[in-house]
Symmetry: C2
Subunit: 598 residues, 2 copies
């Protein structure tokens, strides 16, 4: 068993489901080749298996500790981080003139999947650092970039996003951290941030915090928030060693899982003010930060897909080895035991995991290809469309893999039964690690409100229309490939979603509380339809390629087709009852009164 996404699966997703080779036609990638892409994937896989996978359990058991005001993490974090950085995975997507390799986003995200599947607790530092560096690349002044970007690209510095505060949770408009302007153009920050992943550790010389704060006397709410770069260590004068900035580690949070990543409480300005510099424009901080949040939301989707995939692979390996009982049709108690995988319910648990894990990864890599198109597609209209489609899909890409990744990891435990509940196998840890994905980077409820309250209504519904058109186009292609039944079922579900959306958005104008009351269900319906669309495309590719395929490839294609069928028989039909509930503008939760609970 491999601890990373299988080579064949990534090959299928990048080169058959997506047409990643077509990127080679774009000027930015003219120097590359498929061989370069594949070598990138292979390098990530090798490092993940050597430096990440062996420490999955250790990262869980040897939780970061608070020592003399600093966070100490387990020793293997450092070498893993350096191997990843030295292989260029922090900056390979940068332009050549920035010091990067100009590799496509989608190839890099596919490569990063190896780290997430092997050990997400170590890998998430990289995800955050890449996002923070991208923010600096987009909005930073040349001087700030000169000072920090190179070190964030080669792994000497790590990066974080510091948004949440103890008293505010998901409502960013209520953050209180204050930035006081200084005569030299810098700021001094005062306040406390909570749940800051990677907020401290002991394997990089510096940490660059991207902090949301309110400039003194700024307007209330989200319109008064600005973005600041606040380093853990300030540059020394005239090349001298750096000095600690006034950013204190106030505490470590002890989590259920994902323990190799520190989760911190940071205090800014307890000793005179933390030095920071404005990134981008005053009071535009939240809009700027959304670049990193959106990247991180896709990142969460990828991580959720990878944890689900790992659980799938682990439980499949067990089910193939372990003898257990006999089929219901066998009445001879002396006949040999069959393997677990022979039992129908175990197959269901494995097939559903395949559907969730591979469907999630395909959805996420599709989103990465949109990100790619948004930035490098030669046609302006295609760039605009990609941006619009990615906008509406981002809450789905964040949520569907997280929700069904959790279901998937639950099923992985169930395949093993009692053994799956013990720490002798990694399934229980994957289950715990996965659970964070429904929470961080915007909890499920936030994503639902973002989707229904913002994304589907923006630009007079243009993004939703584009999504619907795109799905209908792909349905037609699938029909031609012999998948008419599934294409028709998806069409019906999509029509249902469209009609439901019309009812909800109409109500949104005069009663947003009611319209958004069941937004989480709306998110689930949308996600299920998006996943059906993704599976239909995978099925189409498999159906067309099956004939004439080698035996091994044919099995892989048959698996894809069976997984697609499972989705259309088991998952998609559930959207009907959900749409009916939404269309009725169900008030059950909204009308429940606090005093009526226990």
């Amino acid at each position: 068993m491999t601890t990373t996404i299988s080579e064949r699966e990534l090959e299928f997703l990048l080169y058959e489901f997506l047409d990643t080779e077509a990127l080679l036609q774009r000027p930015r990638y003219a120097e590359h080749s498929r061989e370069v892409f594949d070598a990138t994937l292979a390098t990530a896989r090798r490092i993940a298996e050597e430096r990440f996978a062996p420490y999955l359990r250790q990262g869980d058991e040897q939780e970061p500790s608070f020592v003399d005001g600093r966070a100490e993490v387990m020793a293997p974090n450092g070498p893993a981080w350096r191997a990843l950085a030295e292989a260029g995975f922090l900056n390979a997507h940068w332009d050549a003139d920035e010091g990067g390799l100009q590799l496509p986003e989608v190839v890099l995200r596919a490569a990063m999947s190896a780290f997430y599947a092997a050990n997400v607790g170590i890998a998430s530092y990289a995800m955050l650092t890449i996002g923070a560096a991208n923010l600096l690349r987009t909005f930073g002044t040349p001087a700030l970039k000169d000072r920090y970007l190179e070190a964030m690209g080669d792994g000497r510095h790590a990066g974080t996003m510091a948004l949440t505060e103890p008293g505010q949770g998901s409502a960013l408009g209520d953050i209180k951290t204050t930035a006081v302007p200084q005569a030299d153009g810098s700021y001094r920050l005062f306040g406390q941030k909570m749940f800051i992943s990677g907020g401290d550790q002991n394997f990089t010389g510096n940490i660059v915090h991207m902090v949301l704060a309110r400039i003194q006397d700024a307007p209330a709410g989200v319109k008064g928030i600005s973005l600041f770069l606040v380093p853990k260590v300030l540059p020394g004068e005239q090349g001298a060693a750096g000095v600690r900035n006034d950013v204190a580690l106030a505490g470590l949070l002890h989590k259920m899982g994902w323990r190799a990543t520190t989760s911190t409480v940071l205090s800014f300005g307890e000793a005179g003010g933390a030095v920071g510099w404005l990134v981008g424009r005053e009071h535009q901080g939240l809009a700027h930060m959304f670049q990193m949040m959106n990247e991180a939301r896709i990142g969460v989707g990828v991580m959720a897909a990878c944890i689900a995939w790992r659980g799938y692979a682990e439980s499949l390996a067990y089910a193939r080895e372990r003898p257990q009982g006999r089929l219901p049709s066998c009445k001879d108690p002396l006949s040999p035991q069959v393997k677990l995988v022979a039992h129908a319910d175990v197959r269901r648990l494995l097939l559903a995991q395949k559907v969730y894990a591979e469907g999630s990864l395909a959805l996420c890599l599709y989103a990465c290809s949109l990100f790619e198109d948004q930035h490098s597609h030669p046609q302006p209209q295609a760039r605009a469309d990609a941006r619009r489609l990615l906008d509406v899909l981002t809450p789905v890409v964040k949520s569907w893999p997280a929700r069904y990744g959790a279901t998937s990891n639950d099923m992985a435990i169930q395949v093993l039964g009692g053994a799956g509940y013990t720490r002798d196998y990694p399934l229980e840890q994957l289950y715990r690690d996965q659970r964070l994905n429904m929470i961080h980077e915007g909890a499920e409820a936030i994503q639902g409100i973002d989707l229904l309250g913002r994304k589907v209504v923006m630009d007079d519904g243009a993004a939703l229309r584009l999504f619907v058109e795109t799905v209908h186009r792909d349905r037609a292609l699938a029909s031609e490939a012999g998948l008419a039944d599934e294409a028709a079922a998806l069409g019906a579900a999509l029509d249902c979603l469209t009609a439901t959306t019309a009812v909800l958005t109409e109500r949104l104008r005069n009663d947003p509380d009611l319209a958004l009351a069941n937004a989480t269900v709306y998110l689930d319906v949308f996600g299920r339809i998006a996943a059906g669309w993704i599976w239909l495309q995978q099925g189409r590719v498999a159906a067309l390629a099956l004939e004439g395929a080698s035996a091994g490839r044919a099995d892989h294609y048959r698996g894809k087709l069976q997984a697609m069928r499972y989705f259309f028989r088991w998952e998609l039909p559930q959207t009907q009852a959900q749409c009916e509930l939404l269309t009725r503008l169900d008030r059950s939760a909204l009308d429940m009164q606090d005093d009526w609970f226990v």
Copy 2:
């Protein structure tokens, strides 16, 4: 917040939803009164809050350790056990001439809920001991009972059930532990048992293992299994101190949760043979053991309900305290934050938890009332009916609370967001503890096959017919109480289940592998309909009692009605797509081939 099921909720379930006071008319309970029942509940609550609840986290962090071949558990286990035993909770259901108080099963199970909600890891030793003692009461010889029963009733001895072996898992027909007859009528046992909960600990002087084993030269399969009592410590001669039996603790299993209960590997007969005595008849061991398994399955349902209820209460308390953001209709960023509980999606998460937790507990206590009727109802037909109904419901009572208890505890975490993922709150532990309930005492797949393959077809479908008749009778009553819409919806779902069952049982005769392939879905549909029935009855009681109720009671009734409505709007409609899938005899999982997975 209380750490045990609220007094009002138990009052509602025992005296309004069920008619527990009617039991006082039966000769066995003639000496009792409602005051005695209530005092029993109050005693359990007091002990649970004093001796169990404070050690929930400690039981998780201070896992049992293997010391010199013995299991050492955290210190608070002992005093908690003794307080529970001294208050009579191990034997209060025994007849007076056995040394018991002749308390009704349903009252005791309701009382035990306090221990499960407060700290299931400590409380489960009691559940196992009660079941093992009941087995001895039913099937043991007078000599064996004389030797062990009193000590199991007063807590000097604990009890276990020892079924599973390392190589066999759920297929009991494959167990290999052997019992060799001795001249004195005893046996020597040889073999290894795994996942034995409470298999060793250091707070009782002895542990009575109820062990399934195969008498030398017994027939293969389940028909060659016998039941033995094998104590950890053998009686000394002539009143001398006991000597260790040849039962060795081979190891402790390290679980994801439920850690205050030891999970052990036991080796029998490594030094000449473990002394044991036959309980019941030769080769009838599995049938005998089913008494304990069935009790344990109801016990798992109760425990799952209680863990769900605790999560509900904890997340509700948090949601009422914590300020967070504003409603979608509020556009003023300077307005005060509202409490979490004001947000529609948080209310959904709380209302759904109420539905799952209270619905589960009501279902389980209803099952306990059937157990009660089976044994103490004055009319033979009513006893037979209760037995039959309990038979068909047992897999549902075991599974629905476990499955939706897990969903419920997942929602409890989500209410708290990032805080729920930390060990600063008990939600993450409850989520981990709860996960075991889908596995132990027969995993979900086993329950599905038991329900569809055995229970609904036994006696030519008599139990299913009885279930259907009972639900229709209760539907009519609910209709009269003004709940006609819900009663009609439940009727339609029940008709759908009946038709689906006919298709499946017809196919069972000639193609059991296909008929049972989706038995887990069948279990889920059955469970959802049973839960709908239970909620309809709770709703009926609330509807009738609402008028003229005091303000506090009226709120409780309104909550029950709203929870019922939620169930009928959100949960019951999902049965339709599931029945369609089942009626189609869907082959998706069955047809999936091993080679088609990754």
